[in-house]
């Protein structure tokens, strides 16, 4: 057995130089896929994820359509080159499960009942993975939804927290996820203070669990601020440009 790597040093600094309660550097961009009705791209640490959204549109196959509301279909997929060892491009058990989990995290935020007999199709492509991709996928997918002009109750934002070397840490990366003691991904709707996804693996005491959730929600709020700015950025640029011209 190789020796377990040290995840947090004496000064409380993690393997990638972060403090315990610090999220990874975040970059969000909206409207990157021209052919989609809505799209967004996220870079969270070494994660690179693209989300493209189509619809609401006619459901194919037809029998899946519901008479009283629309359906959300979601495909989370990892590119073969997204991880160290080539991943088979066929959807794995894990990807099917994550697709379902993401769909269920987003469904409560969308007014699906306004679009009966239609489907909203969401494609999430992980280009590079470094832990916490389900959370980053939820964050980026809700931006794609907003970009497409689909009516939503709130943006959904997600962030994980967990345990590494007996320390509670925020926004775990790949090593912390694999070698650490616990991982708790949380998806959150900030304006309603509602949790849309809560999972956990590993072991935590009840007190640790409560603290971890607080930590994760804190991370969500930080990411939410960036999420909002990125949505506005697309339109603010044009506005500022013209206002400058007017002032001249």
């Amino acid at each position: 057995m190789p020796k377990k790597p040290k995840l947090v040093n004496k000064k409380g600094i993690r393997t990638d130089g972060r403090k315990l309660d610090e999220i990874r550097p975040l970059k969000l961009e909206v409207g990157v896929v021209h052919n989609a009705d809505g799209s967004a791209y996220i870079e969270q640490g070494k994660n690179k994820i693209l989300a493209a959204l189509y619809g609401p549109r006619e459901v194919h196959p037809r029998h899946l359509a519901l008479p009283d509301r629309g359906i959300l279909r979601c495909r989370y997929h990892m590119a073969p080159f997204s991880v160290d060892e080539r991943k088979s491009p066929a959807p794995s058990r894990r990807e099917v499960e994550i697709s379902k989990v993401i769909r269920e995290a987003l469904e409560p935020a969308i007014f699906l009942e306004r679009f009966p007999r239609t489907s909203i199709d969401l494609f999430i492509e992980v280009l590079q993975a470094d832990g916490g991709t389900r959370c980053a996928s939820i964050t980026v997918a809700s931006l794609a939804l907003a970009d497409a002009g689909i009516p939503m109750k709130d943006l959904v934002v997600a962030c994980a927290a967990g345990k590494a070397d007996e320390h509670l840490v925020l926004d775990l990366n790949d090593i912390e996820d694999k070698e650490g003691g616990a991982d708790v991904p949380v998806a959150y709707m900030p304006n309603f203070d509602a949790v849309a996804l809560l999972q956990m693996d590993g072991q935590l005491t009840i007190d640790e669990f409560k603290e971890t959730i607080d930590l994760a929600l804190n991370g969500c709020r930080q990411i939410y601020a960036v999420q909002k700015e990125s949505l506005k950025a697309k339109y603010l640029a044009a506005k500022e440009e013209t206002e400058e011209v007017e002032e001249e």
């Binding site: 009705d37 809505g38 619809g55 609401p56 549109r57 006619e58 008479p67 629309g70 935020a109 007014f111 679009f115 009966p116 007999r117 239609t118 907003a146 970009d147 497409a148 002009g149 689909i150 009516p151 939503m152 109750k153 709130d154 943006l155 709707m189 900030p190 304006n191 309603f192 909002k228 949505l231 506005k232 339109y235 603010l236 044009a238 506005k239 013209t242 206002e243 011209v245 007017e246």
Partner: protein
């Protein structure tokens, strides 16, 4: 608690816009006494009304709307038309032809075939069935020449302008015939390709800068400049 934003400030879905006795208008929803935005857009407070002018939207059919669409299928009784909305438009033969029609005799594809672009009006839509269209009115029917440009349906009110100010200016300045479909498709036909090109360019500018003020003047200026440069 009164208004929480300034007029015409950008809001995102879920933002709390107002609390108390207000009316939740376009692109907002009410949760008890609170009114939230449900789309990305510019917030507007008008008396008791709170609304959001969406920056992007999809076309949801409504009766009496003028739409531009493309025929995707011909069947026994009529045509299926893509009208850039979640639901395909349905144009029945009796709503397109002015004389009696018999499926045994007449071939519908002689009148309209797959790929043809039409201007039509929505005559019925109630979300349990796909929207029905008609072309039995003046100015409606097949588009045989010109160009089609596509903008976000959210920008259509801006292309038309207050009481048609923008669209009238566009027609005068570019000397083109312009038909605006509520579903985001716009048909332009002019005397020359150059006129059509300038009109398309102007519409593109309107879409990009739809949420800014003083747009009509800037577009007029752009059209005149474009024209003098290429004259």
């Amino acid at each position: 608690m009164p208004f929480l934003y300034e007029n015409r400030q950008i809001v995102t879905p879920g933002d709390l816009l107002a609390e108390g006795d207000y009316l939740a208008a376009d692109n907002t929803f009410r949760d008890n006494e609170k009114i939230y935005a449900c789309r990305l857009g510019l917030v507007e407070y008008r008396g008791r009304k709170v609304q959001v002018v969406a920056l992007n939207n999809l076309y949801f059919p409504a009766v009496e709307d003028l739409v531009i669409g493309k025929v995707v299928e011909v069947d026994l009784h009529g045509w299926n038309v893509d009208i850039n909305s979640p639901y395909a438009g349905n144009l029945r033969a009796s709503e397109a032809l002015s004389r009696p029609f018999r499926p045994q005799r007449n071939e519908l594809s002689d009148f309209l075939d797959v790929g043809d672009v039409i201007v039509a009006k929505v005559i019925a839509f109630d979300r349990t069935r796909d929207p029905s269209l008609t072309t039995r009115e003046p100015e409606l029917g097949k588009i045989t020449y010109g160009q089609i440009v596509r903008v976000s349906p959210a920008k259509i009110p801006r292309v038309i302008g207050r009481k048609g100010s923008m669209i009238n200016m566009l027609k005068n300045e570019t000397r083109c015939n312009i038909t605006v479909g509520q579903n985001g498709l716009i048909s332009i036909s002019g005397r020359s390709r150059e006129d059509e090109r300038i009109a398309a360019l102007a519409i593109q500018k309107i879409e990009e800068e739809a949420h800014t003020s003083g747009l009509t003047d800037r577009v007029t200026e752009m059209i005149r400049k474009e024209r003098s440069e290429n004259a």
